[in-house]
Amino acid sequence: MKCPICGREAVTDFCHYHTEAKENVLAAYPLWVKAYGNMEWKDFLDNVKRNPQTGQWVKEIAEILKESD
């Protein structure tokens, strides 16, 4: 199976890069919630996508996660 984002071999639903990026996103969410007091999952994904510091693979997975929600 291929990664739907980049076409590399998939190790889960995604390739190993996007799988790791997804894990990073999931791990970062509670930190953002703590920092802002509260934050909806979708708002978090929007903010992550818009942030110029966010890495390309994280942005790509954030987009997919937002669509699939």
Partner: protein, 686 residues
């Protein structure tokens, strides 16, 4: 042969001219031989002929020289015209061979380092037929008359044979390494159906690319975490200043707002004021790595460009030999003489005069190099107008040299702490109280004073404002050519002479692009594939170990042949790893190559349909190239003719007048910019 002349072999034609000029006192004549210039002169009743190589005239290759054949372990030295179709090399070798037949004495006057020694050794061995051991060595670090005369008065027998042995071993190892692994990779991609394209990997290139890829992964995987910073504005009797909250990072918005609420409008008490004067010593003299980093910082020049400029200045006898690892200036370079020379150049006259009042003694760095001192000016005035880049690098070298003799600068640093209840703010400032060496280093010193208001312990201020700033963690920066060079140096990858070329190769092979060395899909795929199937190819440890052993050979130790054997054993193992997974390796490299080739044809978004890509297409009937839209089959007819000559590269931004892509055209004297739209209104602008 008795009664013949002394044949002097230099590394470059400009060096041969300077040697002839210096040794003959200007009484030399040039003549053409096989289309190359040689110089004849007399010195103390002896006849001399000076000739020059132009880089390596001999290179390592395999007897078959067939790009699809590997493994290759049987390597030989061949003249460069056979290895890389270099007709200039063939002419030079022929001229040197003819000159050698009439010579009775031979002097190797190539640059005194591994590469120079290898160039001279090979010419003496092959073109002059077996003169590599009997030839004498002229060693010098500048091309000034004084230095050259001294070097020829003190010719040494076999001074650099260790360097030559190390150089030849390095060339052989790098060839065997590069040719086998690159051919294995290229062949595996070919087996996957792609047309032949060189996929190169080298002994130092592999680990260096891995540095870039590691950083690229961190960047692409990065997710910023928010935090806050606070600063307060403090006022009293019309005096106001801003001080930062002592805790640099406030983790939550709630905590930040609480600080604001608890401080705003309250009274702050100055609990401490500390002032102290620190001494800042001058920077160490330049070695090549430091010069490359400093020119990148100050002028934005790549390491390769800096090296080229520095070599021009060296050949003009304006600076010493630049490929040095030393940060030390020995007294033998004659400090006073150089400074007196610089005093004759108006820009440096005042500083030089100041230094000459005392006994000049420079600061020394920690790194040394047995062959050459740190890069320094020779004290000679430029005899021709320097172009802007040469003038810039020359000025930098001169000022760094002068700064090395300057006294330490003194800076006063002041820090005050202001307490507002349980919260603390810190005010910091600094000013230069004595510039010392910074005056000599001029604008390159980059010091800036930060004003510190008049504050004493116990002073009270009103907190007029508290500003909260939402911040995000910053992702790690990409390497640029300068920081990558620094990383290679730190990790012991390559040598001072090869690092810049390796970085240029990574760009040339399409593994990294842009000023900030962004890794391409191909670069990522090559490292990924190696990491999975033959990890030692990108291993830093293995490369570092080989470098260490080469250094031993360089310093006169034995072991070159054993090292070559060890390398061959290591390569056999790596080739076996690659061969066991040839199909998978081929598939991965092939898919990255396909994506990279497709990407190189895309110039940018189509401004007509807004969704397609404008690409370079070659007409099947006329074989001419033109620009067309990828949405042609969906009806978009955007197209434009293209120049049929030159290499095209898409510019990062579209045309400011019409939004069509802009390309850089290379092939003439210098690349130029062109909007591909033939009707672009910008083309009609004067």
């Amino acid at each position: 042969m008795n009664g013949g002349y002394t044949l002097v072999i230099c590394e470059k034609p400009d060096a041969a001219r300077r040697v002839s000029e210096a040794l003959s006192g200007g009484e030399f004549r040039s003549e053409q031989m096989e289309g190359t210039t040689v110089f004849r002169f007399n010195r103390m009743g002896e006849e001399f002929v000076a000739c020059a190589a132009q880089g390596h005239l001999y290179g390592v290759s395999d007897p078959a020289r067939e790009r699809t054949v590997y493994p290759i372990f049987d390597v030989e030295w061949y003249s460069s015209d056979l290895v890389e179709d270099n007709t200039n090399a063939a002419r030079r070798i022929l001229a040197i061979r003819k000159l050698a037949s009439g010579a009775s004495k031979f002097v190797n006057a190539c640059d005194f380092d591994v590469e120079g020694e290898t160039i001279g050794y090979n010419l003496l061995r092959y073109a002059c037929v077996g003169k590599e051991k009997s030839a004498l060595r002229a060693t010098f670090s500048t091309l000034t008359q004084e230095d050259l005369v001294r070097a020829f008065d003190d010719l040494k027998p076999q001074a650099g044979l260790g360097l030559a042995r190390a150089g030849r071993t390095r060339h052989a190892i790098d060839f065997v390494w590069g040719v086998n692994l690159s051919r294995a990779l290229s062949q595996s991609a070919l087996g996957s159906g792609h047309r032949y394209r060189t996929v190169s990997i080298g002994r130092v290139q592999g680990p260096t690319l891995a540095f870039l890829v590691d950083r690229e992964r961190e960047i692409r995987m990065f997710i910023p975490i928010p935090y806050w910073k606070a600063s307060g504005t403090f006022e009293k009797d019309g005096i106001g200043f801003t001080a930062g909250y002592t805790k640099d990072r406030i983790e939550t918005r709630h905590s930040a707002e609480k600080i604001k609420e608890e401080c705003l409008g309250r009274e702050a008490v100055t609990t401490s004021v500390n002032r102290n004067v620190v001494q800042v010593g001058p920077p160490a003299p330049f070695n090549i790595g430091d010069l490359q980093k400093e020119t990148y910082r100050t002028f934005g020049y790549t390491p390769t460009r800096t090296l080229q400029i520095a070599e021009k200045l060296y050949l003009g006898a304006l600076i010493s030999y630049p490929r040095t690892g030393s940060q030390r200036l020995p007294p033998s370079i004659n400090y006073g003489g150089i400074i007196r020379g610089l005093a004759r150049i108006p820009e440096y006259c005042a500083h030089a005069a100041e230094l000459l009042k005392g006994e000049p003694k420079p600061v020394q760095g920690t790194k040394s190099d047995a062959a050459h001192p740190a890069i320094h000016p020779t004290g000679e005035k430029p005899k021709r107008p320097l172009d802007a880049s040469e003038a810039g690098v020359f000025d930098l070298v001169v000022r760094r040299f002068l700064a090395a003799f300057g006294p330490s600068a003194r800076k006063e640093l002041a820090v005050a702490t202001l307490a507002v209840g349980e919260h603390e703010f810190r005010l910091a400032g600094g000013r230069t109280v004595f510039p010392g060496w910074m005056r000599y280093y001029g604008r390159y010193a980059g010091h800036r004073d930060v004003k510190f208001p008049s504050v004493s312990e116990g002073d009270r201020f009103r907190v007029a404002g508290v500003a909260l700033e939402e911040k995000f963690e910053q992702r790690p920066p990409r390497y640029n050519q300068s920081t990558l060079l620094e990383k290679m140096e730190r990790e012991g990858m390559g040598t001072k002479a090869t690092r810049a070329d390796i970085i240029a190769t990574l760009v040339g092979r399409g593994y990294a692009s842009g000023e900030n060395m962004e890794v391409t899909g191909l670069g990522l795929s090559v490292v990924e594939t190696m990491a999975e199937y033959a990890p030692s190819i990108i291993s830093t440890e293995l490369t570092r170990e080989i470098e260490g052993k080469l250094e031993v050979v360089e310093n006169g130790g034995e072991g070159g042949t054993e090292l070559l054997r060890e390398t061959v054993r290591s390569i056999v193992g790596q080739l076996a790893d690659l061969s066991a997974h040839e199909e998978a390796v081929g598939r991965e490299i092939d898919s990255a190559l396909t994506a990279s080739v497709a990407k190189s044809f895309v110039l940018g978004k189509c401004p007509v349909c807004k969704t397609g890509d404008l690409r370079i297409i070659r007409s099947k009937t006329t074989k001419k190239r033109f620009v067309g839209c990828s949405n042609y089959s969906r009806g978009c007819r955007a197209s434009a003719p293209l120049l049929q000559k030159g290499t095209l590269r898409a510019a990062p931004k579209p045309c400011e007048y019409c939004s069509w892509p802009v390309v850089y055209v290379a092939g003439g004297r210098r690349p130029w910019r062109l909007c591909v739209n033939p009707n672009c209104p910008g083309r009609r602008k004067p």
